[in-house]
Symmetry: C3
Subunit: 194 residues, 3 copies
């Protein structure tokens, strides 16, 4: 049986990977060069989690103490650069990877907050913030109005996913099932909206 | 006699309410839908206080541990949505609610920082940052140059109000009178400038 | 022999001064008035260091507990205002002061993180974030796509400088020499790119 720590870490790195791809794709759309792409991969992939860690007092944040986060972000950026640089605007892939990242982070953020002893309301809000933080920073740095303000069901999707995880923890469900249910709900709501 | 904790909490929630309205009005101006309006209400109403709490080490921030902040923000957003959605640009109401929120937060931020043992200079700077943080984030998310950079007497008003509260604490004045004097000064300076 | 604390403080204040000038120049370019210039001086000069202090748990941040940071920022803003207000756009001076500030902060950020017990990887990443934070916030507030995304060798320069400082600490070199080598490398890479 894997521990909650390992489980959260894997979710977190998964979210970092897909959000980093969304950041890299957005950077490719703006015709940034390789370095700009890598910076935006790191920012999109890690600012949500860094914000969560700061808000629960887990400093220095995992994204800075564990080199894997940087490595995963750089790999995501390089893959995107090699596969997509030079081709035309890719709006919907950005949104798709963003939606998957949102689900990963909403779940991982909530579970990490619960593990740090946050109350149910706090954990759900932190899960939501973890989910929306990376994409919000990505869009602000590229001077776009963030998805979270433009899209009908973005923050709501993250909050719903986080609430399922909190509910699962309250009724004593395993964190694996809670994560699966919360993530699926978040992803389902987002895909409905896209 | 109410305690300083209760007093700060009430000021904080009042500031959250009016800043949330300023955020919702700005979102209405940009023709965002209901969800975008609610997100911007929460951001404008709470990012100043969240920043202050992070800076003094009071984590998780009150805005996330106490469901009232979310509730107050959502109510402010809903009221604004029901009353104003669909009508034309409202520049001066945004500025007016923003000015009231600035005063509330400059005072509440300073008093909370003093209660956490901050030195006079630190408390005044934290009060200023608490005041300007929410509106700054609101404007950045909407891709506008923040009021705090465009308006003559924005940061100065917050700093003056915060300084009065610090001064009041130094000479042993009651926090009620300090808050009233500081808030009135901040509001007066801002109204002069609008 | 000066202590590492004093040494970091001096580097930090030097970085604050030059970054504050870069912020003030950018504000002059945008025709902001004196108050806007001073706010942007403070933001550009201090948000990198504030971010670093929050991320390592050194709260309240030095920039808020020590009045010198505010003083240095205001002086930098006033000098810039008196010398440059009214003249035409100054793109390359902004970049030049920005590059010097980047070097100061990358080095000071890394050394402060090491002094707080951060691991080598963490210290290097924190040094990089300290370096890029102030300029990134300056550009976001002025609605420009940040230098760190537009310029080939911005984050890389900061990371290289930080890595040299970490390497110097690992092999037991004096922090003075490490700082000099790291700062020179960072500055050299940036000047190559400008």
């Amino acid at each position: 049986m894997i521990t909650i720590d390992t489980f959260t870490r894997v979710l977190d790195l998964g979210g970092t990977f897909v959000f980093a791809i969304s950041g890299a794709l957005a950077a490719v759309n703006r015709r940034l060069d390789l370095f700009g792409i890598l910076v935006l991969s790191f920012v999109a992939g890690n600012f949500g989690g860094i914000t969560r860690d700061v808000l629960i007092g887990a400093v220095p944040p995992a994204a800075l103490t564990n080199g894997l986060y940087l490595l995963v972000s750089v790999i995501a950026g390089l893959i995107t650069f090699l596969a997509y640089a030079g081709i035309d605007r890719l709006r919907s892939p950005v949104l798709m990877f963003d939606a998957v990242g949102l689900s990963f982070f909403a779940v991982a953020g909530t579970q990490k907050a619960l593990a740090f002893g946050a109350s149910p309301v706090t954990a759900a809000l932190l899960g939501m913030l973890t989910g929306i933080g990376g994409g919000m920073t990505r869009d602000v740095l590229l001077r776009e109005i963030p998805q979270v303000l433009r899209s009908d069901l973005y923050a709501v999707a993250a909050l719903a996913g986080a609430a399922v995880v909190v509910g699962g923890s309250e009724i004593g469900a395993s964190y694996g099932w809670s994560a699966l249910a919360g993530g699926a709900l978040c992803l389902g709501i987002r895909f409905m909206a896209i």
